[in-house]
């Protein structure tokens, strides 16, 4: 599937190659881990969808998805020797929140039921007579859901190191020894996604992904203005 242009990587400007952080999408809701899928971590997996339905009881809400995310974590620890669960994996909780925050329809009283969710995942179509949510789903909203879902069934951030051991990692003020404290500070919460976008992030146990100067410049121009009032630490471009 990779095109021939892949060979032209001599003057690589961006830290975007697929190698170092390939496993960041492990434990997603309905896609295989990179390793277990033999590289295919993007195709829809019906078995996982059915597992999600069973765990949530067909109502894909915060409590149900938090439990299912925990099951997926345990599954990856057991089955994936290359498993890595880093700070960017927090985005998976945000993605999971989409099921009950973005997908439900106003014409069904915003209940995240099976028909609604199946329409998105299986048919990849909007349900009939679908209306979207009433208020914009903001950075603050999704960050609150990320932490709420994570803290219902907390799991350690880290990675498998080959001998059956799972090693914890640290990241900034938020993750210490693989865990997020339940008394996490409001400032750290509101800046979470901002910092995932702009800070260096441990992307595997022996690697760190740092956004490029070009990326940070683009961020400063296109994204930063919407975040100025949060008081998050500005990324340095040098």
């Amino acid at each position: 599937m990779l095109a021939t242009v892949r060979t032209f990587t001599t003057f690589k400007l961006h830290v975007t190659d697929s190698s170092p952080d390939k496993f960041e999408g492990d434990t997603s809701l309905t896609r295989n881990d990179f390793f277990n899928g033999r590289g295919d971590n993007f195709s829809f997996n019906r078995t996982l969808f059915d597992m999600m339905t069973e765990t949530t009881g067909g109502i894909y809400d915060l409590q149900g998805l938090a439990l299912y995310r925990r099951q997926r974590f345990d599954q990856s620890v057991a089955e994936n020797p290359n498993f890595y669960f880093g700070p960017l994996s927090l985005l998976l909780f945000g993605a999971a929140s989409f099921l009950y925050e973005l997908f439900p329809s106003g014409t069904k009283n915003y209940v995240p039921d099976y028909d609604t969710i199946a329409s998105f995942f299986i048919d990849e179509r909007l349900p009939d007579n679908w209306t979207n949510r009433k208020t914009p789903y903001s950075n603050r909203d999704v960050t609150q859901q990320i932490l709420a879902m994570y803290l219902l069934h907390p799991v350690p951030f880290g990675g498998s190191i080959g001998d059956g051991t799972y090693a914890p990692i640290n990241w900034g003020q938020l993750i210490r020894n693989g865990t997020i404290s339940t008394d996490v500070q409001p400032a750290a919460v509101s800046c979470l996604l901002y910092q995932l976008a702009t800070q260096s992030v441990p992307s595997m146990l022996n690697g760190i992904v740092t956004p490029t100067v070009e990326a940070l410049s683009f961020f400063a121009r296109m994204v930063q203005p919407e975040f100025d009032n949060l008081g998050c630490p500005r990324p340095l471009t040098k």
């Binding site: 990779l2 997603s28 993605a95 209306t131 979207n132 990326a215």
Partner: protein
């Protein structure tokens, strides 16, 4: 000409001019009857006019005409995204058209939300989207906030796309179509080729 007026832009931005004709077609929930020119169709036209140099999408012919002249004004630069404030509205699902990505299944994406967006014409049907298109589509379909839309689009673009053309494949690698210069940028793996940042994980690459 259809009746329309241009919304005034706040002084701080050049981004927000939306012809009110688009807004007037929004049906407040619980909306009943699809309008002849649904908002979804209008957005299809919007996107297609924006990107006519790369693709022609189905759905354009049926709404060509006077309305097109309105949207020609909206044919904008790649980075021209705008905050949208629609509130809840019905997004019509066209039932007639064929599935997307029929021509190139490899450009399907791991994100159910993005596939749905493309299936309804909010994202380019050829699987090559842009920063602005991502920002607008998230708001127009799912009512994602402008701040979060910018952040998510950025995470996808900087990881998997081209910061200069702002183009991004929502499927697998298509560097020859996203990169300003493949020789300089190297591989731009596309969302399905890279699992790190968001769009992998966030817009439902569940």
């Amino acid at each position: 000409m259809p009746s329309h007026s241009w919304q005034r832009c706040p002084a701080w931005t050049h981004r927000c001019c939306q012809p009110s004709i688009a807004v007037s077609k929004i049906q407040k929930a619980p909306a009943a009857q699809p309008s002849a020119l649904s908002i979804q169709t209008m957005f299809q036209l919007h996107w297609s006019l924006r990107n006519t140099h790369t693709i022609m999408r189905e759905g354009v012919d049926e709404v060509m005409g006077e309305a097109a002249s309105v949207f020609l004004h909206k044919a904008t630069a790649f980075t021209d995204s705008s905050p949208q404030h629609h509130g809840t509205f019905e997004v019509h699902a066209r039932k007639s058209h064929t599935s997307l990505f029929d021509n190139d299944p490899s450009l399907t994406t791991m994100h159910s939300g993005l596939n749905t967006a493309a299936n309804h014409g909010f994202l380019a049907r050829d699987g090559i989207t842009t920063f602005a298109e991502l920002v607008d589509a998230q708001q127009n379909i799912y009512n994602v906030g402008y701040d979060l839309s910018l952040l998510l689009a950025f995470l996808g673009l900087q990881a998997d796309g081209d910061l200069i053309t702002t183009k991004l494949s929502i499927g697998c690698e298509a560097t020859s179509r996203t990169s300003i210069n493949p020789l300089l940028t190297g591989s731009q793996p596309g969302l399905a080729g890279h699992s790190t940042y968001l769009y992998h994980v966030q817009i439902t690459c569940h």
